[in-house]
């Protein structure tokens, strides 16, 4: 029935799983921090609005966590089912961070369970807040460990190899390979940024529906401030990543930048398209900026794609992924800065309709940027699965049923995605925060009782 190339189908099935999973993984890393901050402000300022924010975010969060758990289990098993040859080799090394990731997740899940079911159970409201800390740490550690695996695939380290077999292994050195620092910073920063932006979009959406409430204004202020902070962090991490790529994985940067000839003072190419001779047409050229991005010096030399054999070059369409990601990153810095400036100037109203509409865009765009970034990270590594050692062709399963499995999983993700949206809508539709606040805290004093 499906006469499809098993390698292609293996790649598609993994791409699909990751594109779906990364949404929930990003939320899983970022939301706990936002909840933790909101509850802390709520307790310290004794402001029920912030505590209600933490409550409502948590309520939505458990739904997305569930999807994250099951899709995470799926990708964990798919590593062995779809890429058996890769795991037979790399399992010797990456099982350590994978194992620790499971521990970190376990830790997170246990404390999330406790956090979820113990609102109002302790006399001192700060006790409950403390339970959010292990959730935040567990989420960040999960991200750290799993990112080291991805880093290892890009710049394998910590072993010696002879005749296709590892001879000696240092799994800790493998975890802290050259790509780890920049990748972890970028993943953590962008996760916090994206979640802040998503929650800002929710607040903006509620404000647009003419709920001019204090609750949503406070939510918007908190989240937009965090968007600003983390968009700066993410941009810095992105800069570190570019410098890392220039040094350790130059073909990946060159493919993203359509930079073919090694040269000094290289231009940064934005958008455009390629003609038959692989010359960028209609692109915006920023003189010397690629050199600056790569080495912090406008005159420095940047390695071009022509230095690499043709069958070891990544596909050139990753250029667009890279550009979209960077553009969205810039947009988020600009829009959050604008919001902060407007809200500081007394005469201007930061809650004007057009401003709010603009802010609403930040969440969906941020999530798109995460997707673009990961597509760039994964496709930019092609043809390798383990750069320099094993290609995706060598790693994939030979089982012809993989094509059929692709459609099974496609159906699963459609069902999960649809239900997740339906359930989240049901959970919050017709239950505005204001009503819940009134029910929960008729007065501040009573809100502090058990």
């Amino acid at each position: 029935m499906f006469e499809l190339d098993p390698v292609l189908m293996s790649r598609l099935i993994t791409a699909m799983t990751l594109i779906f999973h990364i949404i929930f993984a990003t939320l899983g890393v970022g939301v706990p921090l936002l909840i933790c901050i909101a509850e802390f402000i709520g307790v310290k300022k004794n402001d029920e609005h912030y505590r209600m924010l933490a409550r409502r975010w948590t309520r939505g969060f458990v739904i997305t966590v569930a999807v994250g758990v099951v899709t995470g289990t799926a990708i964990g098993l798919q590593l062995s089912l779809v890429w058996p040859n890769f795991m037979q080799l790399a399992g010797n090394v990456i099982s350590l961070p994978l194992f620790m990731e499971v521990f970190a997740f376990f830790f997170e899940a246990i404390f999330l369970g406790i956090y979820l079911y113990t609102w109002d159970r302790f006399k001192n409201p700060l006790t409950h807040w403390w339970f959010s800390i292990p959730v935040v740490i567990g989420g960040a550690l999960s991200a750290f460990f799993i990112t080291t695996v991805n880093a290892f695939m890009n710049t394998p380290d910590g072993f010696t190899m002879e005749d296709g077999q590892f001879t000696s292994i240092n799994p800790v050195a493998a975890m802290f390979n050259p790509a780890t620092t920049s990748k972890v910073l970028h993943v953590l920063g962008s996760s916090y940024l994206t979640v802040a932006a998503i929650l800002a979009s929710i607040a903006a959406f509620s404000l647009l529906k003419k709920r001019q409430s204090e609750y949503h204004k406070k939510a918007l202020k908190l989240t937009m401030t965090l968007v600003f902070v983390f968009s700066i962090v993410t941009a810095l991490a992105g800069d570190i990543s570019a410098k890392f790529l220039a040094e350790h994985q130059p073909e990946k940067l060159a493919a993203a930048e359509w930079h073919f000839e090694t040269e000094e003072g290289a231009d940064l190419v934005l958008f455009g398209w390629l003609n038959n001779e692989d010359n960028p047409i209609g692109a915006i050229r920023l003189p010397g900026l690629l050199s600056f991005l790569a080495h912090g010096d406008f005159e420095s030399e940047v390695t071009g794609l022509n230095e690499f054999p043709e069958d070891e070059r990544p596909p050139l369409w990753v250029h667009y992924m890279f550009d979209f990601m960077v553009m969205i990153g810039m947009f988020l810095i600009a829009v959050s800065l604008l919001y902060i400036i407007v809200s500081r100037i007394k005469k201007w109203d930061e809650h004007n309709k057009w401003m709010i509409r603009l802010l609403f865009l930040s969440g969906p765009l941020a999530m798109l940027a995460v997707e673009f970034g990961w597509i760039y990270a994964e496709v930019g590594r092609q043809p390798w699965i383990l750069r320099g050692y094993m290609t995706v062709d060598e790693a994939a399963t030979r089982s012809p049923q993989i094509g059929l499995m692709f459609f099974f999983f496609l159906a699963l993700y459609i069902v999960l995605g649809t239900l997740c949206v339906i359930v989240l809508r049901k959970l919050f539709k017709g239950k505005p925060a204001e009503e819940e606040l009134e029910k929960k805290y008729p007065t501040i004093e009573e809100g502090d009782k058990e």
């Binding site: 309520r59 458990v62 739904i63 966590v65 569930a66 999807v67 758990v69 099951v70 289990t73 799926a74 964990g76 098993l77 798919q78 590593l79 062995s80 089912l81 058996p84 795991m87 037979q88 399992g91 010797n92 099982s95 350590l96 994978l98 194992f99 620790m100 499971v102 521990f103 997740f105 376990f106 830790f107 899940a109 246990i110 404390f111 369970g113 406790i114 979820l116 079911y117 292990p134 292994i169 240092n170 799994p171 800790v172 399963t397 030979r398 089982s399 049923q401 993989i402 059929l404 499995m405 099974f408 999983f409 699963l412 069902v415 999960l416 239900l419 359930v423 989240l424 049901k426 959970l427």
Partner: protein, 337 residues
């Protein structure tokens, strides 16, 4: 002790942990649906959801631990099982995904629907059935490697009496373990009506469990005589298992010490499971993977063992905290909190 023995023992402990907690979960799903169909849902479903709500993610993690660990310690298993299990493994993932997410959707999201209850009950039986296939395959004869191509002989698998007896054993064990846990939990909650109902379930599923164990034993003798002989060498483990089975059933029957009854059930499965596991060695997949030839490098094995111990030191106190707050908190169990 060598690294490979430590590794396989640790993994087997995880799998045993999963066997117990997942059985409680899967069986509870079936009982919840069965109770709904027979109109008894108002009696036990509250009890079931009170237990499952805080622990469902924990159950899943036990399983992930096992398969990450086995690939780590014995990477060849990724190659053989990964290739051969593409279809059954994918189906198991999809079932687990449906079960886990639907569980969360329904419990945190909205009211219970019939479709959900059906899926919850059905996956409770289908998941153990599909996962137990891995156990069957490990005995050899179903996975073949010809000219470097690993494949699974589905016809042999579906026509093998051993394969079906394992599926049957998995199903009845799940129901039996779950029922005996619910008996204990109902007694803790002091919920007499629920207690009487689940006690009936527990007594009912005891006989099929012991019958299925015996038929599986016999079917294994025909399928893999070498393994069967090694099991007979460990006869005392299986003897202890039967002894604990009798203690458990006696306690449930006389209606006292339900906590001890459940511990006896855990010991019953502990001895059977470890007797089976110990006699299975050195093979992980007969005859392709044995623990001595396919163990990972020493440095990785040591690192994994260190992480394993450090992880347990972190997790056990956390789990105890979780249990004290929920499972064994008398007020919570009784529904007062």
């Amino acid at each position: 002790m060598s690294y490979e023995i430590i590794g396989i023992t640790a993994l087997w402990i995880f799998l045993y942990g999963y066997l117990i907690v997942a059985s409680v979960d899967f069986g509870a799903g079936f009982f919840a649906y069965y109770a709904k169909v027979t109109g008894n849902d108002h009696i036990i479903n509250k009890l079931i959801s009170r237990y499952l709500s805080p622990v469902w993610e924990v159950t899943n993690v036990f399983f992930v631990f096992f398969f990450v660990g086995i690939v780590g310690f014995f990477p060849d298993s990724a190659y053989y099982y990964g290739t051969a299990l593409l279809v059954p493994g994918s189906i198991a993932i999809i079932l687990l995904a449906i079960r886990g997410s639907f569980y969360a959707f329904e419990n945190y999201g909205s009211k219970q629907s019939n479709v959900y209850m059906f899926l919850y009950g059905a996956t409770g039986l289908l998941i153990p059935a599909s996962l137990s296939t891995a156990m069957t395959l490990s005995e050899g004869g179903f996975i073949t490697e010809i000219n470097g191509t690993v494949s699974l002989d589905y016809l042999a698998l579906f026509t093998s009496p051993y394969s079906w007896s394992v599926v049957f054993l998995a199903l009845v064990s799940v129901l039996y373990i779950s029922a005996t846990f619910l008996v204990y939990y109902a007694a803790r909650a002091d919920d007499q009506k629920a207690l009487q109902l689940v006690r009936k379930y527990a007594l009912f599923w005891a006989t099929p469990t012991i019958v299925a164990s015996l038929t599986t034993f016999i079917a294994l003798g025909q399928h893999n005589p070498e393994h069967y002989d090694k099991m007979l060498d460990l006869w005392w483990m299986f003897g202890l298992s039967v002894a604990f089975f009798m203690i458990a059933m006696w306690l449930v029957y006389i209606g006292k010490y339900y906590g001890w009854a459940f511990i006896s059930v855990m010991l019953q499965f502990f001895f059977a499971f470890f007797g089976y596991g110990a006699s299975h060695l050195p093979y992980i997949l007969y005859p392709y993977i044995n623990i001595y030839d396919s163990v990972t490098y020493e440095s990785t094995a040591i690192a994994l063992i260190i992480v394993f111990i450090a992880g347990l030191l972190l997790l056990i106190p956390s789990l105890i905290l979780l249990m004290r707050l929920f499972l064994f908190n008398a007020d919570y169990v009784k529904g007062k909190k």
